[in-house]
Symmetry: C2
Subunit: 155 residues, 2 copies
């Protein structure tokens, strides 16, 4: 079971912005801190803004910030909206797929129920629950796990 890589990145953007909810952050700074390409980030910011989770601050020193308090952003909502065009299996596609068993199949309903259980679990969690209270200082974000491992090995 996999989520889109861009769903993962969208959640990271929201988590980073939740650490300083009253400040706007430039996309250059976000891209650098979260180690993602500006092109990917641009698409993700566009989705999050259109979905109402972010708002943009225009101008030379502009950027993006949360559009609502972190405890109002449900993780289930973010993932559900970003994954809405994904099909869990072939028969979930809008064209129905090509499975020969479909007319006698009850598996589809079971899988839909399991998918609903996944989202229901995350509907009870908000962005505010995601970041440990020790905080993530905006100028001292931890290094990626692979970088730490490389350092440990003396690379």
């Amino acid at each position: 079971m996999r989520l889109l890589a861009s769903t993962d990145l969208a959640l990271r953007v929201l988590m980073r912005l939740s650490t300083a909810p009253d400040q706007h952050v430039s996309t250059d700074v976000l891209a650098r801190e979260l180690v993602m390409s500006r092109n990917h980030l641009h698409k993700i910011v566009q989705f999050l803004t259109e979905a109402g989770f972010l708002r943009t601050v225009r101008g030379a020193h502009g950027g993006v910030m949360l559009a609502m308090p972190a405890d109002k952003i449900r993780i289930g909502d973010v993932i559900r909206r970003h994954e809405q065009n994904q099909s869990l299996v072939e028969c979930f596609r809008s064209d129905g797929g090509a499975c020969t068993l479909l007319p006698v199949c009850r598996l589809r309903g079971m899988l839909a129920g399991a998918q609903q259980a996944f989202y229901q679990h995350l509907d009870g969690k908000t962005l505010a629950d995601c970041v440990a209270s020790s905080g993530a200082p905006t100028h001292e974000l931890p290094k990626p796990a692979r970088a730490r491992e490389a350092e440990r090995r003396g690379a």
Copy 2:
């Protein structure tokens, strides 16, 4: 959210075999009925056999059949085993990924909980629950949805 296409196909193989649990079916017949390549089917049968869900009957008229009653095969078990090397998001990978937020992140635990809710839903369902009681006659499997649609349009 997506499952592997091969997980979907593995479930179809089990569903097809559950319609005639006392008979073995050749892989040629299975590939034709389920409209999948023999190469894909071979890998799926290998997985299902190694996992203990299928057994093979050798010989010129050999084939495969369920290794246990359909009501003993839990759908959650089949999917969990086939997807065991998949990572829901990057930080679920065995190398930990490269997310800079990991040390302060509680999202990972939430996502693991949601994944568990998905599988728990399917642990309560068995292969016997998957096929409607109207049955799927082995020689009269329904046509794929797209083929039916093409016929409807007079193609």
